[in-house]
Point group: C2
Chain length 333, copies 2
Amino acid sequence: MGARLKDVADRAGVSFKTVSNVINNHPNVTEKTRQKVLQAIAELRYRPNVTARSLRHGRSGFLAIALPELRSPYFAVLASEIGAAAKREGLVVLIEETFGERDGERIALEGLASTLIDGIVFSPMATPARDVAARLDATPMVLLGERAHPAGCDHIAVDNVRAAREVTQHLLDIGRQRIAAIGAERGSVTGGLRARGYRQALTAAGIDVDPALTVSKIGYDRAGGASAMAALLDSGTDIDAVFCFNDLIALGALRVLRERGVRVPEDIAVAGFDDIEDGRYSSPTLTTVSPDIPFLAAEAVRLIVRRLADPDAPATDVEVPFTVQVRESTAGG
Amino acid sequence: MGARLKDVADRAGVSFKTVSNVINNHPNVTEKTRQKVLQAIAELRYRPNVTARSLRHGRSGFLAIALPELRSPYFAVLASEIGAAAKREGLVVLIEETFGERDGERIALEGLASTLIDGIVFSPMATPARDVAARLDATPMVLLGERAHPAGCDHIAVDNVRAAREVTQHLLDIGRQRIAAIGAERGSVTGGLRARGYRQALTAAGIDVDPALTVSKIGYDRAGGASAMAALLDSGTDIDAVFCFNDLIALGALRVLRERGVRVPEDIAVAGFDDIEDGRYSSPTLTTVSPDIPFLAAEAVRLIVRRLADPDAPATDVEVPFTVQVRESTAGG
């Protein structure tokens, strides 16, 4: 049904080769000829057959990122950093939001785009490890996070247990003893790991883990943090600090503490996880675990490029460095 | 070089048709056969030829969104809402971050992905209207915002002049007279429109527009808002309100006002634009212009679907409804 290259050449009154030169941005085309060809292309609604071109080169030049939630500033920045790293390798990034649902994640796994993309960076939320391992696609893939991590896959993650232990230790170091934890959701692998680090720090300090101080079954967002903080305050439990399993939860908690007239950090110190920009400008600014996102992004692209060059390269596990950024929410302001 | 469907069939010891059924998720395949085929696919690194499939159906099922900045919560939420609206139409969204640069935007315009996608939603920042009009691609496209808006394109935008006028009017209504404006950057069409609305409201109220109250040449982010607010305070100019041209600028300004001990809204009232979630949880919460993003997203997808059905449909301009959300930063807290 569509116009062919030859139709464009006829319409513009130029050779087949000239049309091809315009499409491929060849410098040896005068602006006048270029405009004539562009006009013919527009009039005929011609679509250059990119697939044929990419198959000639053996690569499409597209890298896909499948992420659960773009509304989460953490994932938005991660996607943006991977885009910047991919650009340095001449790859263009296409982002797909899975909403953390199986249906969305099937696309990453079943290779709907497999002839269109050179690689995929996938942060699975809903897909079990065995299904990731059995995916219907041979496109090079790097897995992010610790939810579904089958053997034999390239994989990048923060050491969540250690990071949670260190930020909890910081709360202990400033003299807090009744430290609550928000975010240990059932079914969340990452939440489970952060809860483990929290418990390890308390136990090492000789403090019993009080189940009344752990709030789960919330969303990993501001609204979830706000309702969890309200529930903790309403319970009447004695609290002098809260470790929130991400910054959005912490920002929701900060808001409720302000509404209730609770001073941060004097009455309750607050720490988060992710180091999103919001927490650097909030009042008070937010103490948090800061993973090295540019490092993560560069490694993700490096592993894809490596596997494109050598499909049989050994599977690699990369650990993302992090620091604990101490700000007003635990250090006075 | 790659394995073919026949190779997979041979390896799995099944028919060509059975492999095709597995790839297309046909229900009439036993789990055992499915696993056998999946294993053969994995071992042979077979990539199903999706392009051939999509050409058979005449559609790829992919909708591209080209946006300047995913780090901006406004664009992240917009992308997510378009994704949700597209899903209801059976379309999968691929997002491309252009960084607001010509190079990134060329991809949207020159149709690199034209055989791969059914439509594109494009928010141009760096590309002049004449280049958008002359794009080398006949894929249905909807333009967002008011930067590059050639005649004959489907187009969706907020009435920025009216929205800026209304939020400035709100600052006048609460008795403010020395209202600063941050964000009227040279070369920013949107910034220019918001500055016009701001001036219209002042003039209608019989207040002279004081150039000392307008700060431009900043980034549209928290850091830009912080430095602009600091510059305004350092200038010694008398100010009792600030209209920031987006919420990120306002959040940066709020942070500086807190650091300087300026009370919001008692000393200086602050208003933003976009209604991102950050401003609903900040301290104080942020008064802002709230555009109807779900409406915008649904209209963008509707216009693409309409143009797929009828390439000659008349170009449509859609105006996005908005409200002014009054919160603590202008109403006491």
